[in-house]
């Protein structure tokens, strides 16, 4: 069954984790004939019931093992807690299913290696659903970068700053997986939304591109979670004690690539602040990009010899930023040219549509997906490496080379 689907299509997909999966619902319609929603798997009966009402023909499973045993399922989309992604992906690949996993791919280095080995051994398609890579502006910047408009890129930064404290607990104060993770883990635990797009701009893991060399991580003290739990659930809740939380509020990771580019990542999932989904920057020898601070603002770009003014002091006119989208006519990514009318209507800035489109295309065309298993673990391993760096007072950590075929050669 593993690759029997071949180019016949459509790919019969099971969504595992019905809540996040629901956000993808609209994305199936424009892809009819290539991928269909065949099953939903969720432990929560209420979530399944909701699907019964909207999609009566979709199979419903409460047990992941049964999905893997169903011969009429070609592929699974893991929209489950991040602590489960790697184990479920490995099991699904072994059961002959193609896998698209929500981010990150894994939380330990052992899981990263096992995932690579399993994907390579089974030959099934594995893709990381890093939807931020497909956002319009990120793809536009990627096009500009690949065509050399920024010159040599020396610096890139990304931030994921999103107060999700209300998702760390249920209504009665019990910890969800997000809460459990922040209780037990301290580091850059959610790296791929920032790192994925940046890695693509720099051509990480690509022929003639670049590779991560080493990284360090610093994390601040915990301050925002225990105050929140105290206010919400009272002094006697375990979360009202600062010491209960391992994860500090702000984490900073610095990565240096083998070609000498510097990457800065920032993560803060609990401090109060207006949410901004895209928080990126880039500097090259011929120009710079900085994203909008909020929805009413434009992302800005300055390109030597394209944008007005000069940065050199003798120039009569000082350099001035331009809106990034002034370059959309000439440099829009071809995926966005082709699908703009569909993607613009759909979730997460259109990117949910693109990951589904890309995953089904990779299966039907029998090719590697744009975000393959090596990318997935290279980006995701920042989490375990960051925890080791933080625990040792900010010591630098070398990246494993997951492209080596086995662990002994790393």
């Amino acid at each position: 069954m593993a690759t029997s689907n071949g180019s016949k299509g459509p790919v019969r997909l099971a969504v595992v984790g019905g809540r996040r999966g629901a956000a993808f619902h609209k994305s199936f319609a424009p892809l009819a004939g290539r991928i269909t929603l065949a099953a939903i798997c969720d432990r929560n009966e209420q979530v399944l019931q909701a699907w019964r009402e909207t999609d009566a023909e979709v199979k419903r499973y409460a047990d992941f093992a049964q999905v893997l045993n169903d011969p009429d399922i070609d592929a699974v989309f893991l929209a489950t807690p991040q602590t489960e992604h790697a184990r479920q992906a490995i099991a699904a690949l072994q059961a002959g299913k193609h896998v698209m996993s929500e981010v990150p791919a894994a939380l330990t280095l052992d899981e990263c290696w096992e995932l690579v080995e399993t994907a390579e051994r089974t030959g099934n398609v594995y893709m990381l659903a890093e939807n931020y890579c497909f956002m319009r502006e990120n793809m536009l910047v990627g096009n500009l970068a690949r065509q050399g408009l920024f010159g040599e890129i020396t610096f890139a930064e990304g931030g994921y700053i999103h107060d999700t404290r209300n998702l760390t607990h249920d209504a009665s104060g019990g910890l969800t997986w997000r809460g459990q993770l922040r209780h037990s883990f301290n580091g850059m635990h959610y790296p791929t939304h920032m790192l994925g797009p940046i890695a693509q701009w720099l051509g990480i893991n690509r022929e003639g591109g670049d590779a991560f060399d080493y990284m360090t991580t610093f994390v601040s003290k915990e301050a925002a979670a225990h105050v929140y739990f105290r206010e919400k659930f009272g002094e006697r809740h375990e979360g009202a004690d600062r010491a209960f939380w391992s994860q500090g509020d702000s984490a900073i990771t610095l990565i240096r690539t083998k070609n000498g580019a510097l990457i800065q990542l920032r993560l803060d999932t609990k401090s109060p602040r207006p949410h901004n989904m895209t928080d990126y920057g880039l500097q090259g020898t011929r120009g710079a990009f900085v994203s909008a601070r909020h929805k009413e603002e434009q992302s800005l770009i300055w390109l030597d010899r394209h944008s007005p003014g000069s940065t050199l002091h003798e120039s009569k006119q000082a350099a001035k930023w331009e809106p990034l989208l002034a370059y959309a006519d000439r440099y829009e990514h071809e995926l966005w040219r082709r699908w703009d009318s569909e993607a613009g209507k759909l979730g997460h800035g259109g990117s949910d549509f693109f990951i589904l489109e890309e995953f089904s295309s990779a299966i039907l065309d029998r090719r590697m997906p744009l975000i393959d298993v090596i990318d997935a673990v290279t980006w995701s391993c920042v989490a375990p490496l960051s925890a080791a760096s933080v625990a040792s007072g900010g010591q630098p950590m070398a990246f494993p080379d997951f492209r080596k075929t086995n662990r002994a050669n790393r």
Partner: protein, 406 residues
Amino acid sequence: MANNDKIVNLAVVGGRRGSSFNKALTALADRVALKAVCELRQDMLDKWQEQFPDIRTYTDYSKLLEDPEVDAVLLATPLAMHAKQAAAALRAGKHVLSEVIAAHTLEDAWELVEAVEQTGLTYMMAENYCFMRPNMMIQNMAHQGVFGDITFVEGAYLHDCRTLTHTPDGELAWRGELQRGFNGMNYPTHSLGPLAKWIGINDTDEFDFMSTVTSRNGSMPKYFAEHFGESHPGAQSDYWRQGDSAVTTIRTKRGVVISLRLDWVSGRPHNMTHYGLQGTKGAYLAARHDREDPLVWIEGRSPGASYGAKGQDMAQWEPLWTHREEFEHPLWRQWLSEAEKSGHGGGDFFVIDEFIGAIREKRRPAIDVYDAVLWSSVFPLSVESAASQGKPMRFPDFAKNARRNG
């Protein structure tokens, strides 16, 4: 209090940068008088003398230090000379206002501390960015607890200064020598100074350890090749040690993380203030360019809620200036018109004002020698860290004698 009504006689050392303090000196003429200028270039001295016929001119710094009518020196000289010149001035009985950075080696930093402690004279670092209007307003808000418990602050100095790295015929100026000789966070105080003041470093908190990672260089060889041809040695990448971008992360003893970024060679529109802050009750974000407002969001004051409770609007940034009536720093309330007329967003005015005030009132200046050497020590520590893949480095305890003596 004896000196309170005495005018401080100041000598400017380094005529080029020194000249940009002219407006500030004029505005403060009732308390400070320009007495002398020391500068190696005679043509520059002539210009000063044209503008100020009564001043004395020196080409030899040691001669200046022998002038009994000079009370204080303003060191506006190349960065690597500051510490030695400051220590010599203190030993000669002069108060010192030093341009940034205060010292570029740990040995120089300790020597400077010792000179200040032994002479008891006023030493201040002229970190003008600390006095900029939004920075002082944020400091005021931070000290009043508006942002709650602060966990993260960031600052960047992003300014294409490549034209200042060389003379017209391609010889290296001091900024060029700096790019050639070191790789690290070689200009940390414009970004770090305001942040240190916001979070009470050397007051309620201390730096613990730091790490620096730099990128490769690209912009300097490209620029030198384009301006002086491929045969100029600066057209080669390995001629320059400094990478284009440097990022330093600092952790304080109370667990605040500080992020600093430096890039003074890449092409990019200049933005003088590039800062951010996150606390448990709110956040601050500087403008990206001078036609934007700095933004602030404070729980309970600003519109919306941070996490998505049902029926609540999403949190929305406000211009920082919305809260000006309440939180403008007292110094800016007092001196607004004078400050806005002088250079560097008012910073130059307040630097002189504070230095003169500290001398006349015999008190510690707002940026004393312990602040100066601590912030500046990021330079030597970063060079060592960057050379060993970002190895964490501990901060020296420069203020140990000050604490022991109460």
